[in-house]
């Protein structure tokens, strides 16, 4: 019998409702027949449905990490609740009678294999033949266009600052919005987003008149300015050197480029047989991007680095993009790809399998924690001071105690170093949760997953707690 966990089913489900409906079908005895092939690669079920005929549901495990589901129901969801129900039947260890793999499934398997082989051939051919062609023509043209766009952005910023942010009126905002739209023609969606964010802050200020928005606006301007400056240098250098290959440079993504997994792989940013454990999970809404961002915070069990996953779900396509969810098992990942950057690197993968987190795993995670807060703070500040770096750096930190000093939450390490625990503006509040923890022991001699950030108004480096790693558990303060 294929080993399957509930986590795995939830991860495969297009949404939580589909999973719970699948569970209901399984629990209520919806399956009238269950069968599996002798080689354990094919599972079949006959499920009662609303139609006059039973639905035929199957799960093909020829590639165990990417099972293929098929169902005769008319649902557009994939996998449908019946397929998930079949997985729940497997989870419950129900009896499956032996059966032959149907001929149509065998044909489909063959077709799939041929298709994949063809695809691989095409990709390698493409790599060899068209690469140079693309480099010479399109890439050079694109870089020139981007440089033009960056000039425009610079000019726009100069105009803005010459007149002063405080003098911008409603008409100016409309004009800047139009200019921002133009940036789309220059392959500069990154600067375009920053500009839109800037305009949004000014607009909000005009409504609520809170000075805070101007503080944010200046921060955005700072970032936009540095991005423009560095990108110009980088692109000009590329043009001068006639260097058109993609490089693992953070500016590529900042300018709006989207990395393909194959590109990152080609750049050597791929590791085999990695394992990750999720430390916390949250979802934010990005007003300018008009996207929900499912953010997973993970620890790499081999390197101890804290890495991130981002799943972008545009509001317009919410029904078509699968939402990510919290994962409480350890993931075994055959191929883990990481993005270029600093701080917590973004990672991605295509297939994974689930394993239970053991006590040894917990010990290992705890061993990755930093002990010397003062030395680490210097490194963190050096990263955070760069306007193009992320505004937070999530680390594992070992602590002696979490308590209060004059009603403020403070973390103290074993060496006696202290840091203020405060909520940042970018995440949901978590500090208050420390008062409600299920056990007092969690406040002493544990490991904290926390986001370091610099708070200018307080003139200090602060830490927002995200999770506590005890010997037995990961206690999440978010989700």
């Amino acid at each position: 019998m294929q080993q399957i966990t509930e986590q795995q089913i939830l991860a495969l489900a297009p949404n939580s409702a589909a999973a719970s409906n699948g569970k209901k079908i399984s629990k209520s005895g919806g399956f009238v027949r269950l069968a599996c092939s002798s080689d354990d690669t094919f599972y079949f079920g006959e499920c009662k449905g609303s139609g006059s005929k039973n639905y035929s549901v199957s799960a093909d495990f020829i590639e165990p990490l990417t099972p293929v589901f098929r169902c005769s129901c008319p649902s557009r969801q994939f996998p449908c609740k019946h397929s998930l129900g079949l997985l729940y039947e497997m989870l419950e260890n129900k009896t499956f009678e032996l059966c032959e793999i149907p001929s149509d499934i065998l044909t489909k398997r063959e077709k799939k294999q041929t298709k994949e082989a063809k695809k691989e051939e095409t990709v390698s051919e493409e790599k060899q033949t068209t690469k140079k062609k693309t480099s010479k023509t399109a890439v050079t043209k694109k870089i020139k266009k981007q440089l033009e766009g960056l000039e425009l952005t610079e000019k726009l910023m100069q105009d803005l600052l010459r007149a002063g942010l405080g003098t911008i009126g409603g008409t100016d905002v409309t004009m800047y919005r139009q200019l921002s739209k133009q940036l789309g023609d220059y392959y500069l969606s990154g600067p375009q987003r920053l500009l839109n964010q800037l305009i949004l802050e000014i607009e909000v200020f005009q409504k609520d008149e809170k000075d805070y928005h101007y503080e944010v606006a200046i921060e955005i301007l700072k970032k936009l300015w540095n991005l423009t400056k560095k990108s110009k240098e980088y692109l000009q250098k590329k043009l001068e050197n006639d260097q058109v290959d993609t490089e693992a440079n953070v500016l590529v993504e900042e300018l709006g480029g989207i990395w393909k997994l194959s590109e990152l792989e080609a750049l050597g940013r791929c590791r085999e047989n990695a394992s990750l454990v999720q430390l916390d999970f949250w979802v934010t809404y990005h007003e300018v991007r008009k996207e929900y961002i499912d953010t997973g915070c993970w620890v790499d069990m081999d390197t101890g680095e804290v890495v991130m996953t981002y799943n972008y779900r545009p509001v317009k396509a919410l029904n078509f993009v699968k939402a990510e969810d919290s994962i409480f098992d350890k993931l075994q990942i055959p191929k883990l790809v990481s993005y270029p950057g600093e701080g917590n690197l973004r990672v991605r993968w295509e297939t994974s399998s689930f394993e239970r987190i053991t006590k040894e795993d917990m010990e290992k995670i705890r061993s990755f924690a930093i002990e010397d807060l003062n030395a680490e703070a210097k490194v963190i500040k050096n990263l955070l001071k760069n306007p193009l770096s992320p505004s937070m750096w999530i680390r594992l930190i070992s602590y002696d105690m979490i308590g209060t000093v004059e009603n403020e939450f403070v973390l103290r390490t074993k060496t006696g170093a202290t840091i203020l625990l405060k909520d940042s503006k970018e995440l949901e509040p978590t500090v208050e949760h420390l008062s409600y923890l299920p056990n007092r022991e969690l406040l002493k001699n544990q490991v904290l997953v926390g986001a370091f950030y610099y708070e200018p108004s307080q003139k200090r480096l602060q830490l927002q707690p995200l999770s506590i790693i005890s010997k037995e558990n990961i206690i999440r303060l978010l989700y």
């Binding site: 209901k24 700072k222 300015w225 979802v283 306007p387 209060t404 403070v410 206690i475 989700y479």
Partner: protein, 643 residues
């Protein structure tokens, strides 16, 4: 290093950003900020660079002031970030308010998709929240033990959707002491009413353990909240002096709350206070002492009782009762609850002596302000004797007393079934093994009706936590007018460890009385006795309830009873309820949500109901075309079956 000049310089840079670079040369404060920075120039090349950039901004020849301004801001912010403080000075103290939760509190692995929706439903606004929270509580009760959910539950106490707030309040009460830290932290709610509720819950769950908290909050709260805090002070003897002071100095409602609190306290000073007060306003005192179980309260109530009754016993005055006198006697009879001792026994005897005379009281009893519900025909027949029997029963449950126990049995033998319930409690506490035989005998001899049997047993229920049967009394305090704030006042394990007794009662009702005989009260009481895993009793009751529900046209009240015994069968129930009636999809869906049974059985029933709908045997309130109904058939059937 003194960083003040850098901070000042940064402020000036931000000001330039706001005002525009075209005015920077006229900004004398900016100039001064650069001058103040100049001494730092030698300290580090970075400062020298900043000063140089600043000077360029002031130069009339500079062509790219905007770029320089942004470079200057970047550099300044980078310096300030690297210079940012990390350490926090001061002594680290342990977090206040965290208690060890021995049980019922944990961190559950709840996926974001559920946890986020749950927290939003408990703390947000909009429709559909109650249904989501309710169904999740049924399917995943363990989620409600998670500390993040508990925090949201406390916030939900002030939800404008009263039904949700009330349901959550019930769950919190059931959740017990583990909620107290959350309640304390969530003390300040959106409305004073909800804050009052928080204090009442802490009061119920923690009692004197949170005395410090009540005292700490007392000076900073509004009238309603203050009242609840004053009342919570009754648990600790140390508060007697403060409460006596408040009883003298407070005004209006808060003064009354001090009285209610003092009525529950022991101690010579308190006793003296009430004795003095009694001399001034005897009837007011009796009202405050209605629920008191203190040692001194019995004497005061007995004294007032004798004062009122004796003239009638001595036959010194003509036997005409004024309305005012009836009110007074009525109030004093009420106050007998929870009072014990020889003096109180004598009072009961005296009541019996003049029971003929006091029979008139029934006219006034139900009209009293705290009985707001409509009086049923059955209730209107209940007289003073019935009421005294109930008071005796409740007193025995709350504070068992040998003398009163004997009196209950004596009264039953002398005056009949009105005292049966009190006698059953007395027997249960004194000699439980014979109780069953005794009840069987009484029933055989037709001395007691089924009604009396229901009254005798209605307070017994199965407690899952204690894994035994208990007596559970509910009551409302006189000051609570909303009728919802019931408090469990006692929870005594009844001597019902073996289930012979319960089984007998169940079999007596479930097999000897036909399904045509309606006694919903007893059927409901029996559903409270079901122990989760007790399949035998469940099977007996399921058959019994099922038969009854099939017989009744309006069987909706039997659905929860069937669910409580995990019924699997439901065939014919919905048909019985809907056939020949006018209804709507919404009502049918609602009925199916309450309907017990497996999905398979519910689907079968749903198909029959839908066919009746198509055949016109069930009339829809809103005319829908047959075509539409045909088209939607499977959709509705699946929805109803899976609800």
């Amino acid at each position: 290093m003194d960083l003040k000049p850098i901070y000042e310089f940064r402020t000036r840079l931000y000001a330039v950003t706001m005002a525009g670079t075209q005015l920077v040369m006229e900004d004398y404060r900016f100039k001064r900020a650069i001058e103040e920075l100049q001494p730092l120039e030698k300290a580090s090349p970075v400062f020298a660079r900043i000063v140089s950039l600043g000077k360029q901004l002031l130069s009339p020849d500079c062509n790219n002031k905007e770029g320089i301004l942004l470079d200057c801001i970047t550099l300044t912010d980078a310096i300030l970030c690297t210079q940012g403080a990390v350490a926090v000075s001061g002594d680290l103290e342990e977090l206040e308010g965290i208690v060890e939760y021995k049980e019922g509190n944990s961190m559950q692995n709840i996926p974001y998709s559920i946890l986020h929706n749950l927290i939003e439903s408990l703390t947000g606004t909009g429709s559909g929240r109650y249904a989501f929270v309710g169904s999740l509580h049924t399917t995943h009760p363990q989620y409600f033990e998670d500390y993040r959910v508990k925090r949201a539950m406390v916030e939900a106490l002030s939800d404008p959707y009263a039904e949700l707030a009330y349901t959550v309040e019930k769950w919190i009460r059931k959740g017990g002491e583990s909620f107290v830290p959350f309640l304390k932290r969530g003390f300040l709610q959106k409305t004073p009413k909800a804050t009052e509720k928080v204090i009442q819950l802490i009061d119920e769950l923690s009692k004197e353990k949170e005395n410090e908290f009540y005292l700490e909050k007392l000076p900073y709260t509004g009238r309603n909240v203050k009242g609840a805090l004053i009342f919570a002070l009754r648990h600790s003897k140390e508060n007697a002096e403060l409460l006596l002071h408040l009883a003298r100095t407070e005004k209006g409602e808060t003064k009354k709350m001090a009285y209610w609190a003092l009525a529950d306290m022991e101690g010579a000073e308190v006793e003296q206070f009430w004795n003095d007060f009694y001399k001034k306003k005897s009837q007011a005192v009796i009202e405050y002492l209605t629920y008191s179980k203190t040692s001194w309260a019995s004497a005061i109530v007995a004294k007032e009782f004798n004062r009122l009754i004796e003239p009638w016993i001595m036959e010194e005055t003509p036997k005409v009762l004024t309305e005012e006198m009836i009110e007074k006697i009525d109030r004093t009879v009420d106050a007998l609850e929870g009072k014990t001792g020889s003096e109180i026994c004598e009072c009961y005897q005296k009541v019996m002596q003049i029971r003929g005379l006091l029979a008139e009281c029934k006219k006034f009893w139900y009209a009293r302000k705290h009985y707001k519900h409509q009086i049923t025909a059955k209730e209107s027949k209940r007289n003073l004797s019935y009421r005294v029997g109930q008071i005796l029963q409740r007193t025995l449950i709350q504070c068992f007393d040998k003398e009163l126990s004997g009196l209950a049995i004596e009264f039953y033998e002398k005056y009949g079934e009105d005292y049966f319930s009190a006698a059953v409690v007395a027997k249960l506490f004194e000699n439980h093994k014979d109780v069953l035989d005794w009840i069987v005998q009484q029933r055989k001899e037709e001395k007691v009706s089924k009604d009396a049997l229901v009254r005798a047993l209605e307070w017994i229920e199965w407690d899952n936590k204690q894994q035994s049967y208990i007596f559970k009394l509910m009551r409302s305090y006189g000051y609570r007018a909303d009728g919802r704030n019931w408090e469990i006042i006692t929870s005594i394990p009844a001597y019902l460890d073996d289930d012979t007794f319960i089984s007998y009662i169940m079999s007596e009702f479930a097999t000897k009385f036909g399904e045509k005989e309606i006694n919903y009260e007893m059927d409901y009481v029996m559903s409270q006795w079901i122990r989760g895993e007790d399949t035998n009793i469940c099977k007996v009751l399921e058959q019994y309830y099922y038969k009854k529900a099939l017989y009744l046209d309006n069987n909706i009240s039997y659905l929860p009873l069937l669910r409580s015994c995990y019924a699997k069968e439901c065939g014919g129930l919905a048909v019985k309820y809907f056939k020949g009636k006018q209804s709507s999809h919404w009502e049918i869906g609602d009925y199916f949500r309450d309907l017990p049974g497996t999905v398979e059985n519910k689907e079968k029933e749903a198909r029959v109901v839908y066919d009746l709908l198509l055949g016109g045997d069930i009339l829809l309130r809103y005319n829908e075309s047959k075509e539409y109904l045909e088209k939607q058939k499977e959709h509705y059937i699946q929805e109803w079956a899976n609800s």
